[in-house]
Symmetry: C2
């Protein structure tokens, strides 16, 4: 049957593609599961009566699609895919009106133990230092400043180091964005890009639309800038609900919209392409700038890199913000913004705000990008973060009380968990603290301090210690359900 | 007479101090002028009938006071002091009310050729790259990141690298400020410190008091943040006029005040200690935060480092901002703020704004500070910038039309020149551009675009080419006087 199917199509598409599609179906239908070895090249050649090179091409394609991986001296295996262990968390209800943001004191109070070394940190979204190529980066940085002593010490252009912008422009093609280096401005990380985007598009007292739940750093920024927020409900898997956003826009003078379409924090949701397109066209229609945070876009566990919403921008209304802080070097503080039609105001913000981003790191990251090490590095950390996300989801399924829910994201390092209604995450936070365990309680992700029975975990780390901490956390939560 | 004078006082103060004071008088009275050789140690011993070690102590003291300098294998010379070549520029008149700032487009239009390589740049206030110790800094940075691979790549504390804050705290003692490392927050340069200080103290729509003339980057920042400004007149030598500020405060709801007490740009003025003290007490009385920009404080040509206004702060109302960008490494983007009672809001701004300043440069600068090279370096560049300032003032006296005025600052790298009333500096700018010469026209330094017949020059560079450019500029200005 197999060979028949192939023979029928042999004329129309490439043979190796047909072979690849066939294997993909077998994986999707469950014939081969995560971690299974798939037939060897020789075996498949004999089965399908095709050439060795056709099978090899097919397997290469499946690797590109992220479905299989080669284990040296062993063969090809189905890549770990995230199981649907838990049901999806609930969708929040709509807020009626914009709120003044007043969260910073609350965040400070709650997170005062972050950074303490004796605590199992499931809180802040740090990448695992062991997955940061600090040896190579340091060697590259040292080499760069030896070769470019004067340039690395002096002021660079406000827009940032041109050769780095060239590389970023190239990489943006895989996000569906065709931009020139002149359309990019380097910032000191992604948050700075968002800060400048807000300064460029909003006045204090204005209202913007944000996702709910939303990362609390954005709330702090809104408080600082005295910008009001209206929280738009999000689906835990597909992100912001366009219909809800549409209603808000019609009811309120929304001046901008901040969205994290790819593996948002805390949800980890991934907006389908169709939704991204709708989002961009809805906002453009209403002449509302979209500030897009794509910081986790490269950490996909899906076969291909998801596109940025910016890819659908035809009117320059999308300001795309991202950085290398989650994939490469948090401490280097190198991010960027593609500001569309707001370029002049973003340049003003950068120039007046801190003149330029530090030069040496821009040079080092550019070298890391051009020597090809970055893609290899990304493949490695994606595989590893996917594995850890799965392990963490499984641990939650195993240790947490009944009716715990989580979407188990297909990218990023943020895991959003809904506990049974009777669990107060702030209470749980205090109790967990006594056991040396830290996470971020749900109410920090909302202007109105909703999500009382939710928690956010950092899924970037995995160890026996963390597994034990999750067991303890699950046990503590279980006690609070009163069962 | 000399020995008599000494004998009379011999009992009361240290003998070497008396000798030093005596020589200082001779310098001040003109017996010895800039560049003159003063008597050798042996000669003075014989003249004054004191011991060799007393004379050596006295000369050391005079060196500390910045009055003389040792030339190896040659002896001691009177340090170059700036001549009073030109009369002081005029003081601007008072503005009646706060103005919305709207300058960015004007700045962009005027300065569009900045950075072009074929132009003699007398405009932007870059330090001379030849006076930046890029060889050593690069070697130190390379060494640091080799030794601290992981720490240099990962996120550091929001407040910044603690060992660097320790060194900054030590150095602040010479500015009259006793602060702990916990009271310091590292920023990406001085402008970022000012940005955060404004975000921490003002709301958009608020009015702040600023110096007039004022550096245009501050005006751009105010435009970005939609903060109104009231321009307070300044004396070209002693800075902001306290009485004028007092009147403004009484007439308007001033929410903060930004002042550059030590070698402000563009004026180059130095506020006397008494004025600083009055400034701080006036503002504290009215509960108005003082945002102090001390970026040029270490570039003094005076005998001692001038104190910061912060030195007189007893209520925590002064936010002291500075950086290493003018003395050490512009491209490293390392500055700091001592925010007084506004620490929590500055931390929020830093955390929400760009999380932290890049780690590697903080480590490198700290190494540069602890190995003692920084003071030696500062002595060297101070001497050189003083020499260049003098050469530039002399050239202006020589080449520029009659009635040109300038205060010839005692520190910094900014020279403010008043041309005869009939010279329009924007016209001059256009003409100079044809000759490949760039400077910053006066109207950029005022919300209301005053200072039409003023220009700002960067005094950090000196060469035959620059001397020629000044001759050309003077000639062009002369033509515009119509004589």
């Amino acid at each position: 049957m197999l060979t028949e199917r192939l023979n029928q199509k042999r004329q129309s598409t490439n043979l190796y593609e047909q072979v690849a599609n066939h294997i993909q179906r077998l994986i999707e239908e469950g014939t081969f599961s995560s971690g299974d070895k798939i037939p060897s090249v020789r075996k498949l050649r004999d089965e399908l009566k095709v050439s060795i090179s056709t099978v090899m091409e097919a397997y290469r394609l499946l690797e590109d699609r992220g479905l299989i991986e080669a284990h040296p001296q062993s063969g090809y295996y189905v890549r770990t895919r995230l199981p649907k262990i838990l049901s999806c968390p609930s969708i929040s209800t709509m807020d009626i009106k914009p709120s003044q943001v007043n969260i910073a004191d609350f965040v400070r109070m709650v997170l005062k133990d972050v950074g303490k070394r004796d605590v199992v940190q499931l809180g802040s979204l740090q990448p695992d230092p062991e997955l940061v190529p600090f040896q190579r980066l340091s060697a590259i940085l040292a080499g760069v400043i030896r070769r470019k002593k004067k340039e690395s010490v002096m002021y660079d252009q406000i827009q940032g180091y041109k050769p780095l912008r060239v590389e970023i422009a190239k990489r943006l093609l895989s996000s569906g964005c065709t931009v020139t280096p002149e359309e990019i401005i380097i910032t000191s990380g992604c948050m700075e890009a968002i800060l400048f985007a807000l300064l460029a598009t909003c006045n204090p007292g204005d209202t913007i639309a944000i996702e709910s739940p939303v990362f609390f750093n954005l709330l702090e920024l809104l408080e600082l800038l005295r910008i009001k927020a209206i929280e738009i409900p999000c689906h835990p898997e597909s992100g912001i609900i366009i219909e809800a956003l549409k209603n808000s826009i019609e009811d309120h003078p929304v001046k901008a919209c901040v969205v994290n379409p790819n593996f948002s924090t805390p949800l980890g949701s991934l907006m389908p392409d169709k939704n991204k397109q709708e989002l961009v066209s809805l906002l453009s229609e209403h002449n509302i700038p979209l500030i897009e945070d794509d910081i986790y876009g490269d950490l996909y566990f899906t076969p291909n890199r998801p596109w940025a919403a910016k890819a659908y921008d035809t009117s320059g209304m999308v300001l795309l913000c991202s950085s290398f802080s989650k994939t490469l070097a948090p401490g280097y503080r190198v991010g960027w913004i593609v500001p569309g039609k707001f370029k002049e105001r973003i340049e003003l913000a950068k120039s007046a705000g801190n003149y330029a981003t530090a030069t040496p790191q821009q040079m080092a990251i550019r070298e890391f990008l051009i020597d090809g090490g970055y893609d290899r590095h990304l493949r490695k950390i994606r595989r590893e973060y996917a594995r850890r996300m799965e392990l963490m989801c499984r641990a939650i399924g195993k240790f947490f009380p009944e009716n715990t829910r989580s979407a188990c994201p297909r990218g990023g390092i943020s895991l959003w968990v809904e506990l049974p209604k009777s669990v107060d995450s702030l209470e749980l936070y205090k109790k967990a603290h006594e056991y040396g365990i830290s996470f971020v309680p749900g109410p920090l992700f909302s202007v109105r301090r909703k999500y009382k029975n939710f928690i956010r975990l950092n899924s970037a780390f995995w160890s026996d210690k963390i597994e034990k901490a999750l067991a303890t956390l699950g046990h503590l939560a279980g006690e609070m359900t009163g069962r």
